[in-house]
Amino acid sequence: MTFRHLAVVAILLTFSLSAGFVATRIARSVDTNILSLLPGDAKDPVAADAMQKASMAASSRIAFAIEGGTATGRGKAVAALEAALIASGHFRSSTDDGKGLWVWLFAHRTDLICADDKAKLEAGQGASVAQAALLEWYAPMSSARGAMIASDPMLRTSRLLSCLLPKGMATMPRGDARIVSGSLIGPAYSLDVQDRIAAIVEKWKQEASYKDLQLSRAGAVFHAAYGAEHARAEMSLISLVTTVAVLLFYWVMFRSLRAPLIAVGMVTFSLTVGLAATLLVFGSVHAMALVFGAALIGMVVDYTTYYLVTGLAHPDYSVAERKAQIYRPLTLGMLTSVAAFAALFFFPVAAFRQIALFGGVGLVSAWVSTLVLTPVVEGRPMRVGPGALMAKTYAGRFLGSDFSGRMLVGVLLASLVIVVVALQRGETLDDVRRFQAPSSQLVKEEAHIRSLIGFAPTSSFILVQGGSRDEATMREENLLTRLQAQGQGDAVIWAASRFDPSQTMRAYDRDLIRTKLIEPYLGGVLDALGEGRADAYAAAKDAKPVASPAFVVGLRGETGTTFWSVVPVSDGALTLPDVAGVRLVNPAQRYSALLELYRTLATYGLAGAVAATGVMLLFVYRSVASLKILMPTVLALLVSPALLALAGVPYSFFSVMGLFLVVGAGVDYAIFQWENPGQEGDWTHVGIVLAASMTCISVGLLGLSSVLPVRSFGLTVAVGILISLLLSPLVRVSFVKDLFGGKHGD
């Protein structure tokens, strides 16, 4: 068996293993979290972790409102929906959460206290607290129960439940609405979870007896599903259009079905290996990385194109001679492109790191399969099709033309004007809230549910840090006290320390409750009730440990040696008191600031990428003149974002990410032009045009995306590639020859 045969077997084996791996993992490994498109804060890991945890906790909440029809019908519909959600294994009812909270409060009824009651006990007004409990026993339809006589005759548990829950939260909506609420077990941004919940809701809607009912939904899972649905549609559209374009272009170019089939085969191989590598390294793949994968079709097919075109140019050449024709430019082009993708790794954005690996591995796979597999499966060289002739005649004529020095000056002046006008009129965009327009229907339904339950979630929070859990908790308690003192206590929605205080606070409150309430007033309450145990609260000391309520766990975390807690607040512009280890975090502002910072850094990084490519060119060609290859790319880098800004596409961090690919992929055309000057390059131009067309079509289709990062990224790459192609003849410009000299100046 020859090396060639071994290589072919290795490729096929790699493909089989990759395909098998992808098939078994992809269904449960797709991430749809928009936060994965935003930069992490490597300099502030505590804030980054806190934002992540706060987001995860908020995203797990889910609620439905069922209205209309008859009360009996609503009751049945609610029961059916809740049962189906619980049976899915992805849902925990808030009733269960409520039970868990009740168990926790009951276990801690002698060491937790409401703020108002605490103030009364400290002021020596324990009698009024005891009387309030007694009145509750006498109130009609109150929560007082016979079972509490023995263990909680002063109704401490129900009192804690009433004062510690957020104000304004309604547990019972208005009469003609029923609420099903709870939390998701499993990530809301997993396609698997989204599909299961969506299927349950859809099946529920199809039930004939619920036709007269209206269902409203609230929860990040529905927004994520909406985004994922768009991503799927975009991916399908891009794949379909690009595949059709590949089949059509290749058939027209080569007048053979073999060419498009080879191209599709190479694309399938490259994308499968790239996706498998991404799943292997990251464990998951973002939906937008998959959308990008669809766009990658147009990029990986380029290499096959260049090889097949050598058959048109030199039908009498052997395989080795044809490979030799393209080996250097193809390899250099691949290396510059992979380097460009690798640059995306330097930015802490999960989805872009996945794209970097996906694209990089995909391109290397395409390069390997083009040089090893394509010659094997090609058979005899392709024939010249009508499209190839047309491309050679028109596109080839343009790409083969020499730009005069005067034309170069014209191009430079025009570029300058475009850039200057764009700097004045264009805008930059770093505000994450403008990245994806949510479903208006979902927004409406969510607002309706909020009006029913009277509680609006918030994304702003106070981050409290400490060297130990107890220190962080004490700081949180200090913060709450100070906020209360300055009249901003109501802005605090939840606080873990209210349910699980510090050791010091717990000991103080326990003593306060014992000495100022239970010891002096329990006897009187029992006398008034005529029954009860004097040791009702003694048993609480020996109670078995109870698991913390899930939401308390969700408010706390640990990063390295730092313990922290999140205190959600309703006012994102709160004036914080001077408490050590405390700061206000507004995730939207923070992400926007990070995006601005990374946009600036990445823009500077582009200069570095161009310089690195220049060094690579110098290393390969050993000629200063080869730096002319960079000229079309540099102009594309300047002009494409400027043109897009003038067309209303703002310059963002994602535009810069796209420009990195323009550096890597756009330079390929100039390299081929450099390698094949004059008449020799006629057929090369056909390859360039075909390759650039495929890239522009596939990546340009990302411009249809509803997600701004994807749209911005795709349009930037497509326009940048197009400009790189159109300006690629600049490598032969006479003006440059005058400056640098060299054989390629003509």
């Binding site: 009751g75 009145l135 006498y138 009609p140 016979g146 079972a147 009433s162 008034a528 005529g530």
Partner: protein
Amino acid sequence: MRRAGNLLGGVVVAAGLLPAVALAACPPPDALKISEFERSFVQEKHVSGLDKPLRSQGEMSVNENEIIWHMKKPFDVRTVMNATGITQSVDGAAPVPVGPESLNIAGGIAKSMASIMRGEWSALAQIFAIDKNAEQGDGDWAVSLVPHDDRLGALIGRIVVHGCTDVSHVDIVRPDGDSESISFGPVKP
């Protein structure tokens, strides 16, 4: 004999008609049209674990804007529920907002109680399954209310409203066996 038979037949028929006549004396529960009233009440709460019921008494008054539950014995507590919230005044002191601060159950229950006293069965049907043919006695009607929501059902159980021209008393039976009985005096002029 025939006369005796006719007489007996007449007695039997009359006897059969007696309940109907008695019932006819009570208008159906749907006929309750009272919107504003003031009535005395006596409440007894039977709580498992307590030998004696918790007995309280006072006055309930309802008008278009507010519901007042004024327990006078064994404590003087005046609870006022209106659109702005719930306040409580103990022993004639200034009213203060009361808890449950974050739960609207108390307000919901108070509204339900007012609706019960007004005979607003359609409104109550949004929250309760209503059976107007519940067990009757002494010619009065009885309406049973069971919450549609299981969680509310676990909290307040089943309510049975008894009355004739007005609601005379309300029984509340909880799933855990605790119960309440509230008897109302005549409507004050």
